[in-house]
């Protein structure tokens, strides 16, 4: 069974980025947490925009990013 690639979601209120591969430990989301597994009432930790107003993006990272990487 193929594993779905990790995806990236961007807040349309401020540009905050959620990368499934990285999670967001400071906001209680472990690395590998899928977007679908984040509660529907979750909001952007920076600006409070609702989860439904995020957009999945396929934009590559800038060189040297992300600084936070998955541990081996």
């Amino acid at each position: 069974m193929s594993v779905e690639p990790f995806k990236r979601w961007m807040c349309l209120g401020c540009g905050f980025l959620y990368d499934e591969a990285l999670g967001s430990a400071e906001h209680g989301l472990a690395a590998g947490t899928r977007w679908a597994d984040i509660p529907a009432d979750w909001v952007c930790p920076d600006c409070g925009t609702p989860k439904r107003l995020f957009e999945m993006v396929e934009i590559p990272y800038a060189p040297g990013q992300p600084v936070r990487r998955l541990s081996a």
Binding site: R8, M10, C11, L12, G13, C14, G15, F16, L17, D46, C47, T49, L53, E55, V57, I59, P60, Y61, A62, P63, Q65, P66
Partner: protein
């Protein structure tokens, strides 16, 4: 996102925020400032229209009224935010390290990249009208940056001037988007050639009336066009001022 449309001024999203009550920490000015936002695309509490246009997600025609009105300092990532001052004076502060004052004709591009905050205030007791355009970047978490420039409506009258994008004298941004302006006081017909056939073009009438192909635009009307290699822009005897955004799909 990539279908053609005509959007009349009165069909745009509308939000009004007060500098008191629940939005008092977000909206600057006190006690009697009001911030009005007309959105061409879905933004914030307005979620009933077009999601965006190509790489553009926000097009806000905003009016700051009352001393100190605007947005208190707040965080961003990734978005490239351009502000075009039409009237009044905007004081812009950002965590790239800029404190800037912009008057009518001035504009900036702030790329929030890996993280930055900004503050937007009209410090004087005169209305400030500003157009905000937010676009996706072509790479995530870029180093934050800020650039500013000026559109001189008198010196650059009756010709198309590229303000943002890949052109001489324009502010460069990390995205395949070009923002131009045409301010005319004589009848003009201009053939706008898109730089790629898959691009789209969004034309917003800041002032006056104009025809975009066969579509007549009045003040603050706009139209988005896809699948065209060229677009005809036509102005009349009266002053006309157009903002033209060409974007990759």
């Amino acid at each position: 996102m990539n279908t053609s449309f005509v959007l009349r001024a009165k069909e745009r999203g509308y939000n009004k925020f007060l500098s008191t009550g629940e939005s008092s920490s977000y909206i600057g000015g006190h006690p009697d400032a009001t911030l009005e936002r007309h959105s061409s695309f879905n933004f914030g509490p307005y979620q009933a229209g077009h999601r965006g246009f190509g790489r553009v997600r926000v097009f806000g025609d905003e009016l700051f009224s009352g001393t100190g009105c605007g947005y208190n300092i707040h965080p961003h990532h990734n978005f490239i935010i351009c502000a075009f001052v039409l009237q009044g004076q905007l004081t812009h502060v950002n965590t790239v390290g800029n404190i800037d004052q912009l008057n009518a004709g001035d504009y900036y591009a702030f790329s929030a990249g890996s993280g930055g905050k900004r503050c937007e205030l009209s410090l004087k007791n005169e209305d400030a009208n500003i157009i905000y355009v937010w676009m996706m970047p072509n790479q995530l978490l870029l180093p934050p940056s800020y650039s500013r420039s000026r559109f001189d409506a008198v010196a650059e009258r009756n010709r198309l001037v590229t303000l943002v994008g890949n052109a001489d004298g324009a502010v460069r941004v990390a995205q395949d988007v070009k923002i131009s302006r045409l301010s005319s006081n004589i009848p003009m017909t201009l053939d706008y050639a898109l730089s790629a056939k898959e691009h789209g073009v969004y034309v917003f009438a800041i002032e006056g009336e104009a025809f975009v192909n066969d579509t007549q635009l009045g003040r603050r009307d706009s139209t988005g066009i896809w699948a065209a290699e060229r677009v005809s822009l036509r102005t009349g005897d009266q002053n006309a001022d157009l903002l033209i955004i060409e974007t990759a799909p």
